[in-house]
């Protein structure tokens, strides 16, 4: 038996994230995986002590480039909870629209990287081509491609007119059409199934025990989605959590594929029912109290703990990101698989290390 240690990351072409995995390999079979973290720690939680609570919205948006809107929504909901602010219905619907657009582009991005992890470059390009249109919608409505910067405490800062609503619906029809064309490839292609089915299987009991979140949890057959708690306008929209039962990498891909359709459907619903009225309510005074807020991100459940002591700045903001919850799953899944399957399994949990390290 030839044992060697392969450093997988922090700078590795397959892994777009600065995560290091020290893989002990015996004849291309992994026997042990040790994650090493801390390459992109930026101290964003500590910034809460010298930025006021309005400025923190922009800071939380930059915890992660891909989940930006949802970080800001979670933080603002936390503060609105502490300060007892009622968000106008139109703002709640706009938050849903931007949140779901973000989920859409995040899942397309992930699927492209996933295709790249098993060496399917043309599929990667195809998926990113679709994603570009979603980014265009984000830019045209929020003003930025990725980090939208439209969420504010008490509401949102931008409105959309009827013409834009129509335009978004048209563009989304195109996106849905393209995704429908690519769907059979992801679902049935022989080489993809060969590389993903039965790889990194997580049973529902293991998923519960290890505290998996998001698509990883739902792919193991547990229908748990924080959007079911009905935050923002989700309580008024119709959707069911997408689940799969196999618990392998292919099932995780299928769950995300289902969530792409679900997101498009949710945006259409929100655009149809978009109520009129204000988009922002006034914020008076300073926050005092503490709260725990949960939001469903593309990668799973994010938890914000916010404590305010009545000052201009907050005394504590603690962020538990979905990747943090899924790292134990990853460490559990890696031993026993082949080296060639490592990128597939690592990407199947959709690691976002800049989220994780804040």
């Amino acid at each position: 038996m030839r044992t060697s240690v392969i450093p997988f990351g922090p700078q590795h072409p397959v892994l777009p994230e600065p995560l290091q995995l020290k893989l002990t390999v015996e004849d291309e079979v992994i026997t042990e995986a040790v994650p090493a973290l801390g390459y992109v720690h930026r101290g964003l939680e500590a910034l809460a002590q010298n930025r006021d609570f309005h400025q923190m919205v922009q800071v939380t948006e930059r915890v992660c480039g891909i989940c930006s809107v949802l970080h800001a929504i979670c933080y603002c909901q936390g503060l609105e909870d502490i300060m007892g602010i009622t968000v106008p219905p139109r703002a709640r619907y706009l938050r849903v629209i931007w949140g779901e657009l973000l989920r859409l582009h995040s899942h397309l991005l992930w699927m492209g990287l996933f295709a790249d992890s098993f060496g399917f470059e043309s599929l990667f390009m195809q998926l990113w081509k679709i994603r570009e249109r979603v980014l265009d919608i984000q830019e045209a409505t929020t003003g930025n491609r990725v980090i939208s910067g439209t969420i504010r405490v008490g509401g949102v800062s931008r409105d959309m007119d009827a013409r834009q609503v129509h335009w978004i619906a048209d563009q989304l029809t195109w996106v849905a059409h393209q995704v429908r064309q690519i769907e059979p490839v992801l679902r049935e292609d022989f080489t993809i199934r060969r590389r993903t089915e039965g790889k990194g299987v997580l049973t529902s009991a293991q998923a519960r025990e290890l505290g998996a979140v998001g698509p990883v949890l739902r792919a193991s057959g547990i229908a748990q989605d924080i959007r079911q708690t009905g935050y923002a306008a989700y309580g008024e929209l119709d959707f069911e959590p997408v689940t799969a039962t196999a618990g392998d990498c292919h099932a995780r891909c299928m769950v995300r594929l289902g969530e792409i359709d679900q997101s498009i459907d949710l945006i259409h619903q929100a655009l149809d029912r978009l109520p009129g009225g204000d988009i922002r309510s006034e914020v008076r005074g300073r926050p005092q109290g503490e709260t725990l807020m949960r939001v469903e991100q593309p990668r799973g459940e994010v938890v914000y703990y916010i404590r305010a002591d009545g000052g201009k700045t907050l005394s504590r903001v603690r962020i538990r990101t979905p990747t943090f919850a899924n790292i134990p799953v990853l460490v559990k899944l890696l031993p026993g698989i082949f080296l060639s399957d490592v990128p597939v399994v690592v990407l199947s949990i959709d690691p976002c290390v800049s989220c994780l390290e804040r």
């Binding site: 400025q55 919205v57 910067g149 490839v185 049935e188």
Partner: protein, 111 residues
């Protein structure tokens, strides 16, 4: 394998979806938040933008009547534009050109 073949053949026929970037530039969306500009004639140097800026990229000196701004530190969030009492700040729909060095913009009131 055969599921992907129609896709890639369609790509071959319909031509590239990418743009030859420096020669062909997509016009920016009107809503795009790009580079910050200050109509200095209207500015009263109240300093509200400097206080509210999350990335601390604006400095206002009331005595010198000087408004200075670091475009490469700006995160284009648009908070300053929203709170400006004189409405003299606005954002162009395009970001500034790339630069080799971080620049500073300093605007003085016409005396």
């Amino acid at each position: 394998m055969f599921k992907m073949t129609p896709q890639i053949l369609r790509n071959l026929i319909s031509g590239p979806a990418t743009r030859a970037y420096p020669r062909q530039i997509r016009p920016p969306f009107p809503a795009t938040r790009g580079r910050l500009v200050n109509d200095i004639a209207q500015c009263n140097f109240c300093g509200a933008c400097a206080v509210k800026c999350p990335s601390v990229c604006i400095e206002v000196d009331r005595h010198l009547s000087r408004w200075s701004f670091a475009p490469h530190i700006c995160v284009c969030c648009g908070v300053c534009v929203e709170i400006c009492p004189r409405h003299c700040l606005r954002q162009e729909p395009a970001t500034g050109p790339p630069a080799a060095q971080k620049e500073m913009v300093a605007l003085d009131a016409k005396s």
